[in-house]
Symmetry: C2
Subunit: 494 residues, 2 copies
């Protein structure tokens, strides 16, 4: 038994408990640093990893919990907690079987994912599960089981309408912010599209980061339903409605390891779509040397997985394989992408043509599905709606229904990167561009990022601006300049 002290330490999703090194518990029960223990309070319990303390941070009889653990256990400073030995976590035996290459049952995935969401897995155990499932180690059946398990532990949104549309891009392409345009266009045509998007994990901006520069995105399920009832669509943040809480934990480990497990990507995307109540989903897979999907073959395999797993869980999936050799649009970073999106919606003459093209392609595909028309007719319909100005009106209406419509601002500090040669742009490294935007402060500083002026095949002259960097602080701009000194082959001009 310990008296809890709030020592104000954050350790993210892995709960940490701090106990004095000279505590009787560490002696009598053999608890060592990094032992996993049960922490009980008031009928509920969590699992935490033990750190010991030998300073006066804690007095005798006191223990500390990381902030996140305190919230999960619903305890406050002064409460009495009890620390006990961990009972073995039975689903880990499935993880071990997976490590040894065994095919797992539906029950196994259900139990693993339930325990993951309940916080029973340490980072080491999560990493072992993610690793064992990566590298083409999962059968199609297992992808289906994993997807179903991920759906079952999250919140599910039900709709009255029989057909609910959705779109998704597997990502990896800076600036590729088609979602707000696509959603606005098809909502004008009467399609129901309650879009939930993610925030950036390793990219300079997610759709939710971009939308947050214009309106409120952290909506409850009830608020989402109200907005959709009014406008056929929403542009909300998925993290606010916990559609796939298991995914949030697994993605964290994947990103830390920098691996993209196809099976987990498919399960992640489709579980969120199913949980959001979608029935008809268009998935965009851009491929390119420096995109997330590197080759056309890889894109085709991923397409197959989306189709077969989608079918198994009752989703109608349409996959578009697109060009991922360079950024789409000019802005990279939340506000800069928002300005790009707004320019396209407003039909401004100098709006990014590639962003308009990609957006009407995807919107056209959704309309083609909805109206059972030809591809050309769907595309034409999308272009007409955009050109009419109705998509922009719809976008503003959605934003207002969500809480307001603001025009965001670019970062105050800026710096132009100039070509020092004449020639044609033959290659662009998406990853390095993304890194620069992040160093400039995106997505945390919404006005930070890049405006990009040097797409593939463009003829540039010595002295032309290739791209401009925006930051909200002088220090961050200096940081980017430092990085630029060391970076090579970001844009190849020949």
């Amino acid at each position: 038994m310990f008296t809890l002290r709030n020592i104000g330490i954050h350790s993210s999703h892995e709960n940490t408990i701090f106990i004095r090194e000279d505590s009787p518990l560490t002696h009598s029960e053999g608890f060592k640093v990094l032992t996993r223990v049960f922490v009980h309070f008031n009928g509920s319990k969590i699992i935490a990893t033990l750190n010991t303390v030998h300073s006066n941070l804690l007095k005798e009889g006191e223990a500390g919990l990381s902030e996140e653990a305190m919230i999960r256990l619903n305890v406050k400073d002064g409460d009495t907690i009890v620390v006990k030995h961990l009972q073995p976590i039975s689903s880990l035996s499935y993880v071990r079987a997976k490590i040894y290459g065994k095919e797992l049952s539906e029950t196994a995935y259900q139990e693993i994912i339930k325990d993951v969401v309940d916080g029973l897995y340490s980072n080491i155990e999560l990493a072992a599960f993610v690793t064992a499932c990566a590298g083409n180690n999962m059968k199609i059946n297992e992808m289906v089981y994993l997807t179903k398990a991920m759906i079952s532990v999250g919140q599910q949104i039900k709709w009255e309408q029989a057909v609910i549309f959705d779109k998704h891009c597997v990502g990896g392409l800076p600036g590729n912010r088609t979602t707000p345009i696509v959603v606005s266009i098809v909502a004008v045509a009467g399609l129901i599209i309650p879009k939930t998007s993610s925030k950036a994990i390793t990219s300079p901006a997610g759709t939710a980061d971009m939308m947050e520069t214009i309106t409120k995105v952290n909506l409850s399920v009830e608020e989402i339903k109200e907005v959709v009832k009014k406008e056929n669509a929403c542009l909300a943040w998925g993290g606010g409605v916990k559609l796939s809480p298991a995914d949030d934990l697994l993605i964290y480990v994947e990103k830390a390891l920098d691996i993209d497990s196809e099976a987990q990507m498919v399960a992640s995307v489709l579980s969120k779509k199913a949980a959001a109540g979608s029935t008809d989903v268009v998935i965009d897979i851009p491929y390119g040397k420096t995109a997330k999907v590197r080759s056309h073959e890889e894109a085709l395999k991923l397409k197959y997985y989306f189709e077969v797993v989608g079918e198994a869980i009752g989703l109608k999936i349409t996959v578009l394989i697109t060009d991922g050799s360079q950024p789409v649009g000019r802005g990279i970073g939340p506000a800069l992408e928002a300005l790009d999106v707004l320019a396209v919606l407003k039909n401004e003459p100098d709006a990014a043509a590639d962003l308009r093209e990609r957006s009407t392609l995807i919107a056209g595909k959704l309309l083609e599905i909805a109206h059972s028309c030809s591809e050309a007719e769907g595309k034409k319909m999308a272009e007409d709606i955009l050109a009419s100005g109705k998509a922009f009106e719809k976008f503003k209406a959605i934003c207002k229904a969500q809480g307001g419509f603001n025009i965001p601002e670019k970062g105050e500090y800026t710096f132009d990167v100039i070509s020092d040669v004449d020639g044609i742009v033959t290659e662009i490294d998406n990853r390095k561009l993304a890194r620069i935007a992040k160093l400039a402060g995106a997505p945390k500083s919404p006005g930070a990022g890049i405006i990009f002026y040097a797409p593939l095949h463009k003829k540039v002259s010595k002295g032309d601006v290739l791209y401009s960097i925006y930051a909200e602080g002088k220090g961050q701009l200096e940081y980017v300049k430092e990085y630029l000194k060391s970076v090579n082959h970001l844009i190849v001009i020949e």
Copy 2:
């Protein structure tokens, strides 16, 4: 730049840095909780995982490091440290390749193991490497590369003599403490056997824990050499001489995951033997339903791995496959095993016959190799040396050369577990016995553990003592009693 404050938190081998949540660094450079960062001081650097703090634990401009990280970076309270972005760790690309089932090169293993020992890997990354290498995913070549890599990063002991003997047991059998007896016998016969052993990780006692109840085991390489020069042998703690520092880190993760990767076991054992300068090694593989190695087939496969990898790194390996269906000897726990060992060495009439038999078998094998004699002759020689009392004299001499010879004491608090039926003992669960000994306090409380009276095939009557539990504190004994209420099938009597 931060002023370091010693906040007295232990977080074991994963370095942790604590920074205020409102630090400019977390804003300007996008450092989030669990970001991995470089911490620089005085020309050297470590990698640490970031935790943020929002209490007054740290003042503005201050940062904290976990104790272990402070030692590694050699900083003290008040020093000025610098925190920087982590550069990508290039060896992780090999780990990713391994996750995808690729065969790795010798260079790859060298780089991975070097980075592991340099502390560049997080727990998540270590877990991914261990997982990717488990489950029969490594080719023989790769086991050789891993073993060589593990040797190259540790300390290596050189000897003048051409032939250096060694023995090893893969473990998993409570009480199986043959080492001190084997070493003493063969040292009498003139064999050079500088034995280094480990402490318990998940078992109730390692040989080093047992030896520590009698003498000093934490010796430097120079001290080991002196003892061996005098007595032909030593019985030291391997952890004190850092023969395989990579192994210590990998084993931690394996134990956390409760997986025994054959490849890593082979690399772990053989790297330590090679680093210790051994040339001729006898390896004991006990197998049984509740031992570490579960079947004779598994034991044969492991034997093959030891032989082929041993040959590749220039070791002469002889494998004994033995019975692992029950504990060897009667004592389980550091002091109780020591008393068992002493009884055998002193030729006491009631000494554990199975421990004597197993010890002379292994010693006999070493003598057979040394003298190129028959198995029977080797065994006979070992038995004669033991019976003559010379092995006991040698054992005492080794202990005195290491720093003293003390007879350890059993725990003061004791409790007998009584049979409530008549019958024959048909099955024993080694794992549950080990667990009881650990709950009683072993190995931390040296006098804690079990004395076991109910070997297989023994006829027991209702009321007979099956085993006695010893503890150094009353609370621990209560803890065991609590566990005994819930445990089933520990000893099957039919």
